[in-house]
Symmetry: C2
Subunit: 147 residues, 2 copies
């Protein structure tokens, strides 16, 4: 039997959040936080609407998940995010001690890997899950912006 | 004539914020944002009270300053913070394109310099302003915690 809850299943929920961002004219990035196959936080990029560079999807998802759990650490949680986290978000994830990060598209310019941001030693990372869906949405957004 | 508004003048205001954090049993770090010798944001660490690893003084100060200015970029602004920023906060400052960062005490374990976090190319950094005051407050806090 194929387990119903795999990384693709949850990444689709993060992509749905990215779609909401797209529709609001925000750079389309979405994120969710999952614990024991249960979604406890969902968020999308709101930097334009809030006029705030800190309003990345991941930052909001971290805050919402901690609020749900009633504690600031996200041990045993997984973050699904459609784009590779930046330095700021990876730095926040470091503090959260999150167990796992799953991202879709890579960010070869400003992603945490090229920037050399350190994650918590207990955090594992999986990249490239539904990468193409995330990339297409981002490309469509920037093409629309150029018009 | 000695100019009344120098880095020490503003760092004292950040130290006052750190003192507020101390009194609320938070790791004592304070930050302010200044534009044209005018304080437009003040904040102190609230990670315990808010149960949120993202609630560092700098993050709140960035959000508050952007809110005051009505735009997300902090060009022409200076951030004064009592402790060297971490990866997350330096990453947020990168996005903000802030002109100048002035910090007090160094953080040789988790500061952005040892972690290799990239700042925006337009950002200048000054460290060590009223370093001892910031360090003493932090030491007092951790000594109190150990008791």
């Amino acid at each position: 039997m194929i387990p119903p809850f795999d990384d693709s299943y949850f990444m689709k929920k993060a992509l749905q959040e990215a779609q909401y961002a797209f529709e609001q004219d925000e750079i389309p990035v979405g994120a969710i936080v999952v614990i024991q196959d249960r979604v406890i936080a969902r968020a999308h990029n709101l930097t334009e609407k809030l006029n705030d560079v800190t309003a990345h999807a991941e930052m909001q998802a971290i805050t919402a998940a901690a609020n749900f759990l009633g504690g600031k650490y996200l041990r045993d949680c997984t973050l699904y995010v459609t784009l590779e986290p930046c330095q700021m978000c990876a730095g926040a994830l470091y503090w959260s001690q999150i167990s796992k990060i799953v991202f879709g598209a890579s960010d070869p310019q400003r992603g945490f890997r090229i920037m050399g941001t350190h994650l918590h030693p207990k955090t594992t990372v999986v990249g490239g899950v539904l990468e193409e869906d995330a990339s297409i949405l981002l490309k469509q957004f920037f093409e629309k912006k150029r018009k």
